[in-house]
Every structure is written in structure tokens, then in C-alpha cells.
């Protein structure tokens, strides 16, 4: 598959073992033409594309199965319920959770974190209790805690990162005190690509009996995850970043914790009996799933997880790592380009600035070359403040990206420098 690559003379290319052309066939959208150029989709950290397997699962659901779940005796309702619950089991297996009671379907990581803030933290924390996060969290793992701070007066502590974008573990450990009631950290930074040593963090916290929430949004598409071996208390991710439908997501929580928590929202499906005097809540996980869920979405998500599991997350991680190294070396050759975030290890995310050019202008010019990247603060404004920049350009790679797309990005950047001066 190295054939046809525009290979600069000086570079020795790795031998690509991964059959990227085979997987690209599963993603018809990658054949899109943008401004007369082939699409180069490098905005996977914002959302990933969906394979035919997922699209067809959604289609099949609506073509053959659509009905409401958990409440009908008729054939379609039973079929929909069975498929939705099978999807839940697929998620359970993907995370290696003990039980499907620990798998709550939600709208996305954002909703999952808000659920934990309101149902886990709010009833049991008091003013002065501390929640420890890091400087590289997505706004979704900052703002729900600030809302909680305004509600009950908890204190938000932020562990610093170094100039490479790595969490400073000693500082993190120092910030764990008697008052720390929850640790909530991302496993992979969406803005910097940093892979955080969550296993170590979880050990630090658990040895002091502090519960831990892991934001796995950017991790699950790239790294195999096992919640039992991690031993975290909560793990959240969004379906759309792992090749599944938007509006789907997962909250994993240890059964005992979920059991002890009050419901997040009230409505249908989350109850076992309702009178005007008293309502008893449904068992786990339904207690947290008020209202009709995104049934097709859950089934589509399961198809996505099955898809990545079939390719193999280890294979994916290895290939993406080679892509990352290659793309990094190609970008580093361009004068005025500075990569923001050089953590080791790192996921296939490259944030960068070009001296004298604004990311927004770079984004427009790359778009004209058919190249989709993200420009801005990536919903991680504190990261931008840490590096004293208003915004970055970010190229994020998935396993369906090719090395020549990194070359296209580099050519586009040279073009941007030429146009903008």
C-alpha cells in the first residue's frame, strides 16, 4: 500500500502492515469530493465517520424492527427490546464490565458526566469537598462540576500539565487530600492527544478510597479498555467518536454505586410502579434511562463496537501510532509550524500553530484543498490558556486515514503559508 505515495526523498517509510484500503471501502463518505479535491478527513476527534455496518444496522432497525421497547407484548416491541438489550451486552463486553446493570445508555459523554455530577456527587458531597480534575479536560468534564460548585459549594482542584502536555503526576498526587471526594480525568486529551496514565491515577485514588471517573471519549476509538482491570468507578464515552451514531453514549458505573444513586431524570421506563402518592424506581440500569431512548442509535453503536473489535483495537492502535509518527515528522519539516502537545505516549491527534497565521485562515485554505481539520479551542479553553494561544489547528487521524493524507495536509499547510504570507 506504499505504492503511489508522494514520499519525500529523505524519509524511510515504515512498512505499513495494516490494510487501510480494505477498511476505507466500509466508509463510502471518504470518497466525497470537496472543492474538486478528494476529501481528506482529519477531524476524527470531533466526530468519526460511520462504516456501512453501522449505517445498515440503523437502516435495518427502521426497516424491520422499529417499535418502542420494554413495554409491548407485540412482536416488534419484543424484537426491538431484544436487540436493544443485545446492544447493551455488546457494550458490556467491549468494556469488559461485569454486568449489563452497569451499562447505562445516555446521549453522550456530556450527559453521562452531568448524570454523575447530579446523581452521585450532589446528594453526598458537601461544601468544601473537593473534586480533582486536570488542566486538559474537555469542557464536558469541567462545567458540570462548576454547576455543582454553584449548587452545593464543592471546590474544584486542577492538576497542572507540563510543556509537553503531560499530566504532572507528583503535583496531581499532592492535590489529593482528605477533602478529595472524586477524581475525574480524561484518558486521552482531545486537544493535545496526551494519553494519561489513568491506571496509576486510579491506584492513587483507590488506595485512599476516592472514587474515580474516567472520560474515555477519545480513548475508546484508539485503545483497548477494560473497566475491571482499570478498576475505575465510572467510565464514560460518546458513540459518535467511535464510529457510532450521534446522540448515543455510555455511562459505566460500578453496580453498588449506581444502586446507591437516585435517578437523574424522571419519566417512563425508569419506574416500576407509580401512584400519585409514591413511585418506586426500576432496577438498574433502567432507573437512569427515563423516556424512550435512541433505540436505533444503541443498536448502531453496538454495530460500531463490533466493527472495531473485529479489526482489533491493538491493530488500530499500532497503525495509528505509525500514522502519528509519520504525520508528525512531515509537519515538523514545515517552517513556522509548532506542534502543541508532545506527550509520550500520545494518541493520533496533532494540535499545531503556524507562526503568523491564524488557525481559522488555515482551516479555510485547507478546506479548499479538500482537507477537513478542526480549528479553535476544541472545547478545552484552559488548555489554550496554558499554552498562551487563542486557538490551534488540529488534525486527528483514524485507522481509515492514509499516510498520503498526512502528505496532503503538509502540502495544504505550505499552500496556506504561501497564500497568507
Amino acid at each position: 500500500m506504499t505504492g503511489g505515495l508522494a514520499t519525500p526523498k529523505s524519509r524511510v517509510l515504515p512498512i505499513w502492515k495494516f490494510d487501510v484500503e480494505a477498511v476505507r471501502k466500509d466508509f463510502p463518505i471518504l470518497g466525497t469530493v470537496v472543492h474538486d479535491k478528494p476529501l481528506v478527513y482529519l477531524d476524527n476527534a470531533a466526530t468519526s465517520q460511520k462504516p456501512l455496518q453501522v449505517i445498515s444496522a440503523l437502516n435495518q432497525y427502521y426497516l424491520t424492527t422499529n417499535a418502542n421497547i420494554h413495554r409491548g407484548v407485540h412482536h416488534l416491541s419484543q424484537k426491538a427490546t431484544t436487540e436493544y438489550e443485545a446492544a447493551r451486552d455488546q457494550v458490556r463486553a467491549f468494556l469488559n464490565a461485569r454486568s449489563t446493570k452497569e451499562i447505562v445508555f445516555v446521549r453522550g459523554a456530556t450527559e453521562a458526566i452531568n448524570l454523575v455530577a447530579q446523581s452521585f456527587a450532589r446528594p453526598r458531597f458537601k461544601a468544601g469537598d473537593e473534586i480533582l480534575i486536570t488542566h486538559m479536560e474537555h469542557h464536558a468534564n469541567i462545567v458540570p462540576w462548576q454547576i455543582l460548585r454553584d449548587q452545593i459549594g464543592i471546590v474544584l482542584r486542577v492538576a497542572p500539565i507540563n510543556d509537553n502536555g503531560e499530566l504532572i503526576l507528583e503535583e496531581f498526587e499532592k492535590l489529593i487530600t482528605d477533602k478529595t471526594k472524586l477524581v475525574a480525568v480524561t484518558q486521552v486529551s482531545n486537544a493535545l492527544g496526551t494519553i494519561v496514565p489513568v491506571k496509576q491515577i486510579i491506584e492513587m485514588a483507590r488506595s485512599r478510597s476516592i472514587p474515580v471517573l474516567i472520560d474515555g471519549c477519545q480513548a475508546v476509538p484508539h485503545i483497548p479498555v477494560d473497566v475491571q482491570s482499570l478498576d475505575c468507578d465510572f467510565y464514560v464515552f460518546s458513540g459518535h467518536k467511535i464510529f457510532g451514531p450521534t446522540g448515543t453514549g455510555v455511562l459505566y458505573g460500578k453496580e453498588a454505586l449506581l444502586d446507591s444513586m437516585p435517578p437523574y431524570q424522571g419519566g417512563g421506563d425508569m419506574i416500576s410502579s407509580v401512584t400519585f402518592e409514591k413511585t418506586t424506581y426500576n432496577e438498574l440500569p433502567y432507573k437512569f434511562e427515563a423516556g424512550t431512548p435512541h433505540i436505533a442509535g444503541g443498536i448502531g453503536l453496538a454495530a460500531a463496537l463490533e466493527y472495531v473489535s473485529r479489526i482489533g483495537l491493538t491493530q488500530i492502535a499500532d497503525y495509528e501510532h505509525e500514522l502519528l509518527e509519520y504525520a508528525t515528522s512531515v509537519l515538523e519539516e514545515i517552517p513556522r509550524v509548532r506542534i502543541i502537545g508532545n506527550a509520550r505516549p500520545k494518541a493520533s491527534v496533532i494540535s499545531f500553530v503556524v507562526e503568523g497565521l491564524h488557525p481559522h485562515d488555515i482551516g479555510t485554505i485547507l478546506d479548499h484543498e479538500g482537507i477537513a481539520i478542526r480549528t479553535g479551542h476544541h472545547c478545552a479553553q484552559p488548555v489554550m490558556q496554558r499554552f498562551d494561544i487563542p486557538a490551534t489547528s488540529r488534525a486527528s487521524f483514524a485507522f481509515y486515514n492514509r499516510p498520503d493524507e498526512a502528505d496532503a495536509l503538509a502540502a495544504g499547510l505550505r499552500r496556506a503559508i504561501e497564500v497568507l504570507g
Partner: protein, 150 residues
């Protein structure tokens, strides 16, 4: 490529590299802040009003090429103008960059600002081009809160 050059015309690139009327205006008696949450661009606009006349104007802030050049060219264009004249320019400029029922040729009296005609082909960039103008409007109306383009 041609419409990229339409967007990034020489005049725009020049005003981006060497923005005019850039810096704090010590004699200002009106001020407003503008913010484009999409790209994080911020601008502070200073006006020295003499009755109805914009006697002097400057801006501070760093943004993309389009928003910086727009602030630079706007400040040049409105200096010495009355409030109604500036408002008319605002409307013409808005028509120019959004293209709502408004062929480029129909936008008259706009002088150098016509270099922003290419923006209409880039809907994602309209907010960059109009940030300075929205900030001007809020300064003229004497609003204190930061305006956003959202």
C-alpha cells in the same frame, strides 16, 4: 483556488500584516468589546466622538486575517464620518458580505471595503468579517457588555 484569492485579496493580507489604527486610544470616550466564540477572536474598539462625528477610532485585539483586516479597514473607513453615515456603511458592508438579495455591484459608496466581496462565498467566515462592525454598532449604541457574533 480563484475564490481563495478572492477572499484573501492583497489589500486584506496587507491590512492583516500591518493593521491600521491598531492600539489603545487614550482620548476615547466610547468603547466596546466584541467576541467571536467560534474562533476565540476578541476585539476592543475605541471611539472618540465629537457630537455626532467619529473623530478618532482605534482597535485592539488579535484575530484571523479576515477579522483583523476588517477591523483595520473599518476604522479607516469610518474616521471622520457621522453616526448615520457609519450606520449606512454598516448596512452596505453587511449586504456585501452576506450577499442577501444584494449583488456586489449594487453595494455602492463602500470604497476599499469592496475587497470583502469574496467573503460571501465563505459563509463560515462572515462572522469574522462582521465582528468589528457589530462591535462598532454596540459602541455607538453605548452598550457596555461585550457583543458576541453568536
Amino acid at each position: 483556488m480563484s475564490d481563495l484569492r478572492e477572499l484573501y485579496q492583497e489589500v486584506i493580507l496587507d491590512h492583516n500584516k500591518k493593521p491600521r489604527n491598531c492600539g489603545r486610544l487614550e482620548t476615547a470616550n466610547r468603547m466596546a468589546e466584541g467576541f467571536n466564540p467560534l474562533c476565540g477572536d476578541r476585539i476592543t474598539l475605541y471611539l472618540k466622538m465629537n457630537g455626532d462625528v467619529i473623530e478618532d477610532v482605534s482597535f485592539e485585539g488579535k484575530g484571523c486575517a479576515i477579522s483583523t483586516a476588517s477591523a483595520s479597514l473599518m476604522t479607516s473607513a469610518i474616521k471622520g464620518k457621522t453616526i448615520p453615515e457609519a450606520e449606512t456603511l454598516f448596512d452596505s458592508f453587511h449586504g456585501l458580505v452576506t450577499g442577501h438579495d444584494c449583488p456586489v455591484d449594487a453595494v455602492t459608496h463602500i470604497g476599499k471595503l469592496a475587497v470583502f466581496g469574496g467573503v460571501r462565498e465563505f459563509p463560515a467566515r462572515v462572522k469574522c468579517a462582521t465582528l468589528a462592525w457589530h462591535t462598532l454598532k454596540s459602541a455607538l449604541e453605548g452598550k457596555i457588555d461585550a457583543v458576541t457574533t453568536e
